[in-house]
């Protein structure tokens, strides 16, 4: 199988925009989308009439044509949506880069805007599953009658096996949250600004689905984030220091399912993320040793450990020690989620992580990682997924 593709340095992220992050935005998802897209265009120094492409998640409730129309935009030559929940996050940028690289579009906006906390909480799972017998509903029918109904429960099943195989403990998961909340505590945009926690707080938090505790689960948020992608050549003439898309990839493997990949021989890994990692490194022509910081999708702490392993930042089963030794903290060898992640800043389905990587590679992040030249950014895990390898320019 060929892992290298032709997307290296063809496109760049030139603008980022976001609303505030809250538990109740008090306005429509459509308004959140319009606010974040227009903020991203302003950041890029572009006009809404420059936009000719739009990408979002299948799960987003704001159709591209509506967002374009209400922005007062012009003609769109590219519009696309990506499936599989948070697994879509980095793929929005991949598709934008592909559109730009092929000349299908010049300026593509990727956005995700949701009242996920106040309108439609994902944490409640599939309780409202529709009874119509479709392929998707029949799939969840193997779990729903037994009560295995929530994202936390699907991750917990894998986490329990991981703990036994590698000797990981609940404390090992907790250290991921402690690190995220430490970063969030110094990020004024974070929902958990100024609210660090201790490992003891984690250990005292109640079980959601054993072995996962409340503080192993990311928050639920209202908010919107958008990024603007154009060609690297054009990016260099725009307002902000461009952030190069060194590589972008999606991945789904043969035993892939939507959160319930329980039938593979070994359920403790995230092979789809391993597939994505191989493509990123092959395309960008660099390896894990060339990455100074990372945004690791953190909806649930156990999968942060598995991703560190799949990307080769540490060996299989060694992520617990990698985290314990402080590598992921400020000043460590690989600070992760310096904005606080989805455990500390907000849960915007991974898009706020992409925006943070852009700030880091511009050198303008609130918790700036010194010497950040290349960053890995990942999307939702346990599902068909995606990731980016981004680089500072010039």
């Amino acid at each position: 199988m060929r892992y290298e593709n032709d997307l290296r340095d063809r496109a760049a992220i030139v603008g980022i925009g976001a609303t505030e992050f809250s538990k109740d935005s008090g306005r429509s998802e459509l308004q959140l989308a319009l606010e974040c897209v227009s903020a991203a265009l302003e950041d890029a120094g572009l006009e809404h009439s420059d936009v000719d492409g739009m990408v979002t998640f299948t799960m987003d409730n704001n159709p591209a044509v509506e967002v374009n129309r209400f922005l007062g935009g012009g003609h769109l030559t590219f519009f696309s949506r990506i499936h599989y929940g948070g697994g879509a996050a980095c793929a929005t940028v991949q598709q934008a880069a592909m559109a730009v690289a092929t000349g299908v579009a010049d300026t593509v906006v990727c956005y995700r805007a949701m009242n996920e906390r106040s309108l439609n909480r994902f944490g409640t799972g599939i309780q409202d599953m529709q009874p119509e017998p479709t392929t998707a509903s029949a799939h969840f029918g193997w779990y729903a009658p037994y009560g295995l109904l929530t994202p936390a429960s699907w991750v917990a099943m894998v986490a329990r096996r991981y703990m036994v195989e590698f000797g990981a403990t609940s404390e090992d998961f907790g250290r991921v949250t402690v690190a995220a909340r430490r970063f969030a505590a110094t990020n004024p945009k974070a929902y958990f600004f100024d609210k660090p926690i201790t490992l003891d707080d984690h250990q005292r938090s109640r079980f959601i689905v054993e072995p996962l505790r409340l503080l192993d689960c990311c928050m639920e948020s209202d908010g919107g984030v958008a990024v603007v992608v154009t060609s690297l050549e054009r990016a260099r003439n725009l307002r902000c220091r461009p952030v190069r898309i060194c590589a972008a990839a999606q991945g789904a493997t043969n035993e892939q399912q939507m959160m319930t990949g329980f039938y593979a021989d070994d359920i403790t890994g995230l092979p789809e993320m391993g597939l994505v990692a191989k493509q990123l490194y092959a395309t960008a022509g660099i390896g894990p040793e060339d990455v100074q910081a990372a945004i690791i999708y953190d909806h649930f702490t156990p999968f942060v450990l598995a991703q560190l392993e799949e990307f080769g930042f540490c060996g299989r089963g060694e992520a617990k020690d990698f985290v314990k030794d402080g590598h992921i903290d400020s000043g460590g060898s690989l600070p992760i989620n310096p904005h606080g992640g989805q455990l500390g800043e907000a849960y915007i389905h991974g898009m706020n992580g992409i925006a943070e990587a852009v700030r880091q590679l511009r050198g303008k992040a609130v918790n700036q990682v010194d010497g950040a030249e290349h960053m890995v950014v990942t999307a939702g895990t346990g599902v068909p997924t995606s990731a980016l390898l981004l680089g500072a320019d010039g």
Partner: protein, 322 residues
């Protein structure tokens, strides 16, 4: 433990007239910040509670506390949410007597309060609570039970009575969860039941076999490979021909979780969900029943038991192997 109704009720009556414990003393003196917070939440905009100037010109001559805050001055704060942090007192002893006999439910039904005068910042409130009455057994919509009435007398730091409260709760035996049924003639709502598995052309036969009391595993009609969950085509040889075998129902737990939250109606959380490696080599998700949750572990041998979980649905469940 066999306790006759007479013995039980006699035990209850021993509590009547008792003070539940030492007076409960407020953690804070009556104070303006708590008054302001309360008024904001209750949207009570009467300026005598929050505006010093307006209060000075009123009949009170200064800020006073809303009378309906009376009980808040002696509440426990966050510890209320953690029963194990609460010291034992006569009221909790009484509830324990009820719990032992299956009257585990509790619901507040009435609260009457009387205020002798307004409280002013700086006063310290304490409350003395007496178990005043326990009713005879009553049948209610939520189950049979007994009403308990307590009377709390509130005093300030000088022992002056400033108000009282009578609080009534029903301590009851929760009705057994009725079988799944649509709303009946009496209009009672149907009890929540577990979600059903939608039956498609690909999986309907498998669930039909469960209804008949058999756990099947799909088998390729061409190359013979076993597969679960069922699917229309063999991933090994692309054949769409298939048959099935009946599983022995013997398996080993590969992984498991204990479901706690959110408490989804119809399931009776906490329950154990497990990924089970069947003897035949396929895997299945199910519940582990018939043992304590803390006995469930990876590597545990389990065996099949197809059971009705409500009037309409059978599920293949697993129990510790004998």
């Amino acid at each position: 433990m066999a306790t006759s109704k007479e013995e039980f009720e006699a035990r209850l009556q021993e509590f009547v007239g008792l003070e539940i414990g030492a007076p409960e003393v407020g953690a804070d003196l009556v104070n303006e910040p708590m008054i302001r917070h309360w008024c904001e939440v209750m949207e009570d905009r009467n300026p005598v509670y929050t505006d010093p100037a307006a209060a000075k010109d009123s009949v009170h001559g200064g800020i006073v506390a809303p009378p309906t805050m009376l009980q808040t001055w002696i509440l426990d704060g966050f510890d209320m949410a953690t029963p194990e942090k609460q010291p034992m007192n006569k009221q909790r002893e009484l509830h324990a007597v009820f719990n032992e006999q299956g009257y585990t439910g509790v619901v507040a039904t009435n609260c009457d309060q009387s205020y002798d005068r307004y409280l002013t910042p700086g006063e310290q409130v304490s409350g003395t609570t007496v178990i005043e009455t326990i009713s005879e057994e009553k049948a209610t919509a939520i189950g049979i039970g007994y009403f308990i009435e307590t009377r709390t007398t509130f005093r300030n730091q000088d022992g002056e009575q400033v108000g009282w409260m009578v609080f009534r709760v029903l301590k009851f035996k929760p009705s057994a969860q009725p079988a799944a049924a649509p709303a009946g003639d009496d209009g009672a709502p149907a009890a929540p039941v577990r979600l059903r598995a939608p039956r498609t052309h690909d999986n309907g036969w498998w669930w039909n076999k469960i209804d008949e009391g058999e756990l099947h595993i799909q088998k390729c009609g061409e190359c013979g490979v076993l597969r679960h969950p069922p699917r229309p085509m063999c991933g090994e040889c692309r054949s769409i021909e298939w048959t099935s075998i009946i599983s022995t129902g013997k398996g080993v737990i590969n992984s498991y979780v204990i479901m706690h939250h959110p408490p989804i109606p119809g399931y009776g959380f906490p329950i154990a969900c497990a990924l089970i490696d069947l003897e035949e080599g396929t895997r299945i998700i199910s519940n582990v029943v018939g043992c304590d949750l803390d006995e469930v572990h990876i590597g545990m041998k389990v065996s099949l038991s197809i059971e009705n979980v409500d009037d309409e649905m059978k599920l293949p469940l697993f129990k510790p192997a004998q």
